[in-house]
Subunit: 139 residues, 2 copies
DNA sequence: ATAAATGCAAAGCATTTGCAGTAAA
DNA sequence: TTTACTGCAAATGCTTTGCATTTAT
């Protein structure tokens, strides 16, 4: 089961320095970091940072609709500060996640459209990015 | 990082009764069970069944290309015995996963097509199945 | 003041692994 | 007989939680 979008509770979020640091790291970040990536990056400036705070902030931001949780990598969750409709490409060699601007509009086949109300969709592309493709050719 | 498809090792699989029971349960199953679902179902007949064996079998079948691991549910993996190209729909209310026959062919935007070689793609639809829609109206 | 956030450690789950015994081949 | 599989238990890794303390409002 997953979090229902649009059900942001009316909680006032406190602007703590830890949260601001996480927000700053996330701002415009297109690397789709995991919680650990975020923890490591922010810890450099903030030695007292804890995982609990990272997860707490991530959840708060997700609930507030400012962040999107990605369930692409079977090993761990990744976080995307870009909440606009777009898709992703995962390199099978290096594991990096890339943005794919939505230009593609997908619809349910007519036969199913009557039985489901679709709220959103997400495409995952699997393939190889050029650095990894080149590594293959010249090892 | 994820398992590269098509790299099935040349290991001879043994047809143990446990594996056959798991295979039988999976055969034609469209419920997209989790490892625990499978464990519970097969345990009824097979009291000695262990999780290690379930996971072991699941990996073996996945490596052999007879099974597809789904990374849709953030909580746990689900398994799909249908390895043909198709997509999925997840009900946001009940969490059930439904098959969406591929009829939709998606391509990378031209701008990216030069930088990636795409091996496959998978669409996840989010919405509500009719039972859940009806429950909403009449609670 | 007061409600929420932090940080630590412990707990929770899903999944993996080591290994001795067991059973296909 | 050889090689793989089973099942148990312990270990791992990501994520969550409880709680006393601190901090933003």
């Amino acid at each position: 089961m997953r979090e229902k979008p649009g059900s942001a509770p009316a909680v006032r979020l406190k602007r703590t320095p830890q949260r601001l640091a996480i927000l700053e790291y996330l701002e415009g970040n297109t690397s789709h970091p995991s919680a650990e990536d975020i923890f490591r990056a922010v810890s450099k400036k903030y030695h007292s940072m804890s995982f609990a705070t990272v997860y707490n902030t991530l959840h708060a931001l997700t609930r507030a609709g400012a962040l999107r949780e990605l369930t692409i990598d079977p090993e761990r969750k990744h976080y995307d500060p870009d909440t606009s409709r777009h898709h992703h490409l995962i390199c099978l060699a290096c594991g990096k996640i890339f943005d794919v601007p939505e230009a593609i509009r997908v619809d349910l086949p007519k036969a199913m459209a009557a039985d489901f109300s679709v709220v959103g969709s997400h495409i995952e592309f699997y393939g190889h990015c050029s650095p990894c493709r080149n590594k293959r050719k010249a090892p």
